[in-house]
Symmetry: C2
Subunit: 404 residues, 2 copies
């Protein structure tokens, strides 16, 4: 096994990882199944939306010019257009009742709101003038034919699904959900879904699967015992049997004698780095087997989550052509100094709170006694990354918080 | 049909809605399928986690007292414990190599990190003292037996799934996903998934389904034509055939002649209110049929989204026992006055941006020309609700932004 004695800076590790990205393929899905997926094409509208001028209010379609001069004490009177003749143009002095969303009758150019008119016996008294275009939603006002309405690389949201529906785009290209093979290593592990009991439950494979959300497709490949042959066979099976686009192995990534993962990666492919100047998550390694990225993640759940957020998530986002981030960032004022050491990047679990009194948004670190403390994550609202050139963040500084 | 001439304030409408909440049932699911679901029980740990004292670093398990006085220029020497005798207590002057996560050998009370020792021929030179408890993760440090580790009403996240795994909680009670029946009304509508073409695509039922996320189960019941009998039959079918826990009907909710929905609700049950002082979303109505809540939502997609966020989402959250909100709120400084009228609650689509220069987080309204403009939602990062007693929000004020 190659020895990686020096820890490399996070930025360097990230750029090594991103150098080995292979974009997943594209598939076409029905628009209504695309929420949460990454768009793989620019969506260009082939039509105007709305497709015609339509009423934006319930009321009376009129020629605006016919209403000029109307006032509460000096109402004007219009005549209802004869039924059956809606296809013809509205004549001067005529009106037609309309509902929100209905096409504007030919010859009309404004909608007088219900409350500004009084209709009786096909006559309409109007008490207020309207200007041309008033309460009309114009053809192409929302979207014009030829407009790019949603960009490639966007994670689709509810309103985007509506936008696709509104322009009649019933099928849409999205990135395939890459298959992420997940292995947990350790003689002490048992599967909490199974009946066999061991010393420690396999937490990591379940957390990794849940962290991926809708973007990728986790494939949990079980627990592997701590020996070279078992680990090698499991990784080979990830690549051949489950056709994983990337592999995540947790546990067994530090430098002790039980740790065969580095040897296996070296024998099957190449280890690119092993050891990153991050805390927690330091023993994280990264390699390539058959052009497929493989991460060796720490066994401690919190260290693994830290390594996932700082190194694996960027890979998964890049594999899926994601522009922007899966995780939302918000900015808040540090309410209590967050200490950190120069020379390593810190992953700090934090809580956010809004001070009703001064209207500000504050962030404070969760007190932890060890990196194994998963409750430090469940009790937190998100995390903060403190770069390796900073000696902590002082009270009063603003910082970006990544929300879970 | 009852006439509802006056618009009621949003707060009043919300409390009327919440008065009719019926909590959905509870089901038990495997812990790994519970991400995104609402927890229906307090999770109390039946065990300590970690279940025993364990090494928190790779290194050497020692009696801390044996290391006192060690220094780079004055190393102390310990002897490796004979293999095969690990079950017995560590004697004075002995050490055992340990890996992160391994149980601490009996008699040891600290882990000396790899780099502070040099092992040769079963002898360990140590260059630094450790204090008792150093690099040890103590039994129950993360979770103590009897602790409530996750509270009822929480939406479960990735790390929570790990927490459940770590305490061996393989099945967990969550609220059932309530069935939300969705109908779109309108003669002009066509289903963008079907082949038939009409004037306007049914956008609303797809947006409503996507807005629900994982919490509830949308059941799209199709498009209903604008007549009393069709609408009545469709609503009855929602209640009997699809056993909906709540019903959302969009379109046909304003006061014009085509609007039969109010009549149907009155004939099958009771209309509680119709018309809320919100913009957009004013013609929203709410009623009860067979103890089931039914919303009459506006036909314009943006108005419908506004009504959903202000009135329907609170109902869905309460039905599912959700504590906290499905939507994340962040605070930002208003960069450009957001105008609003006293007497109505405004739903304003906004964009957020972070100013690198002053480190502040700003919010600005999306310019819109009409409530039908769905692109005002897709272009936005979230929305702001301006209460009815406010005449807009001045530049420089802080405000809570609800992220999509």
């Amino acid at each position: 096994m190659k020895l990686f004695r020096t820890l490399i800076p996070l930025r360097e590790a990230q750029s090594m990882v991103l150098r080995h990205v292979r974009r997943v393929g594209v598939e076409e899905v029905s628009f209504d199944l695309a929420a949460g997926r990454v768009l793989a094409e620019d969506i260009i509208s082939e039509m105007d939306s709305p497709p015609f001028n339509r009423a934006a209010m319930d009321g009376y379609a009129v020629k605006a010019e016919d209403t000029f001069g109307a006032a509460p004490d000096k109402p004007l009177v219009l005549h209802r257009r004869e039924p059956g003749s809606e296809s013809e143009e509205l004549n001067e002095g005529e009106y037609i009742p309309v509902q929100t969303g209905m096409p504007m009758p030919k010859g009309s150019n404004a909608v007088l709101m219900l409350e500004y008119g009084r209709e009786r016996d096909s006559k309409l008294e109007i008490f207020k003038p309207v200007t041309p275009g008033k309460n009309v939603s114009f053809k192409g006002e929302d979207v014009r034919r030829g407009d790019i309405i949603l960009n490639k690389g966007r994670v689709l949201r509810a309103a985007d699904i509506g936008m696709l529906a509104s322009i009649g785009k019933s099928r849409v290209k999205v990135y395939k959900r890459g298959i992420i093979g997940i292995l947990s290593t350790g003689d002490e592990l048992y599967d909490p879904k199974g009946s066999s009991k061991g010393a420690i439950a396999d937490v990591n494979s379940y957390v990794l699967a849940a962290l991926m959300g809708m973007i990728a497709k986790p494939s949990r490949m079980g627990i592997v015992r701590d020996n070279y042959d078992a680990l090698k066979a499991a990784i080979e099976s990830c690549i051949t049997d489950c056709d994983a686009d990337a592999i995540l192995v947790s546990g067994g990534s530090s430098v002790g004698n039980r740790d065969f993962i580095g040897d296996v990666v070296e024998d099957l492919g190449e280890m690119i780095f092993h050891g990153v100047a991050i805390r927690p998550g330091e023993p994280t390694g990264f390699g390539i087997i058959n052009e497929k990225p493989i991460f060796c993640l720490p066994g401690y759940p919190v260290s693994m989550i830290a390594a996932f957020e700082m190194l694996v998530r960027p890979l998964i986002e890049a594999m899926h052509g994601l522009k922007g981030a899966m995780i939302r960032q918000v900015f808040a004022v540090v309410s209590k100094k967050i200490p950190s050491a120069v020379g390593r990047t810190d992953f700090v679990r934090v809580r956010l709170y809004h001070d009703e009194y001064d209207g500000k948004y504050y962030v404070e670190p969760i007190r932890v006694s060890g990196s194994g403390i998963l409750s430090s994550v469940t009790r937190s609202d998100g995390f903060v990354i403190i770069e390796d050139n900073k000696e902590g963040i002082e009270e009063g500084e603003q910082i970006g918080v990544n929300l879970w």
